[in-house]
Symmetry: C2
Subunit: 165 residues, 2 copies
């Protein structure tokens, strides 16, 4: 279960390159981040699924609750989704009447998205549960450590994006 700690050394005869000085891949940053993310999500997904929402759909709904009437491109940015995904999610939520789209008068290409009363109801059912989970995580893990983690993640992103020139 805990790969990085049980340290199961492979038998010598199975490594294809025993003497090479190629790097060790045992600690993979993407995998560590993925594991952490999945572990966190596991706490939130059940109450979403209970309401028939995927994490991405929930992201869209809670972003609209904060600022209703966002255009789809802006919503995609804030939800950290690519446009094709956002487009499909908008169609899905619209078909379930959780959101409504109205085309922008000044530019017919654009459409703004609005939470419907039904969508807001759903938000209000899920939000308190999510908040509770989040508080629980904060208590268990420690507020200070959590802040430090956010800080490090932000710095990591900054460091990586900087070297993109």
């Amino acid at each position: 279960m805990n790969q990085s700690k049980t340290n199961t050394v492979p038998p010598e005869d199975t490594a294809l390159n025993p003497g090479s000085d190629l790097p060790e891949f045992d600690r993979s940053l993407p995998m560590s981040l993925l594991r952490a993310r999945e572990a966190v999500m596991k706490k939130f997904i059940p109450s979403l699924k209970e309401q028939g929402l995927s994490p991405q759909q929930w992201r869209a709904i809670r972003t609209l609750e904060q600022q209703n009437g966002l255009e789809i491109t802006e919503l995609a940015d804030r939800c950290y989704l690519l446009m094709p995904s956002m487009s499909r999610i908008a169609q899905n939520l619209e078909s379930r009447q959780l959101i409504e789209r109205r085309s922008v008068a000044s530019d017919q290409r654009r459409s703004a998205l609005f939470l419907t009363p039904k969508g807001l109801d759903l938000f209000q059912i899920i939000a308190p549960k999510s908040a509770e989970r989040y508080e629980h995580i904060t208590e268990e893990f420690g507020y200070g450590k959590l802040e430090l983690l956010y800080e490090l993640l932000d710095e990591l992103v900054a460091s990586l994006n900087q070297s993109d020139k």
Copy 2:
């Protein structure tokens, strides 16, 4: 670009629940982890794509390079992939003759996976580039901070899994 720092407060008239004491979702742990992961992956994906590999396919190959002949279930565990994904990836890599499967004599249901010479060649092309990227990231971000990040991520996962009882 940096949502969590620019702190763009939405105009009052767009929030659907301005006075509510519902939690703030601006800082989302899953999203922070996702952003960090994507930023890291962006550094590694190009050299993989150059060789026609997805990150998951690469994970499988480098795991097999470390320990050849793993069974598919074990490989899925180590790659942090679900069986259906692993199954499809194995089929893909097998069709490209990067790996080879041999059924286990003692149990006909199982099959063990082996890197082919062609697969090993590919590993040896990609591995040094990956190592170089990783070293660059370590230098830019700082070795100490990186270690601290790993530590925090591990602790977070432990903390979350612990409360699963």
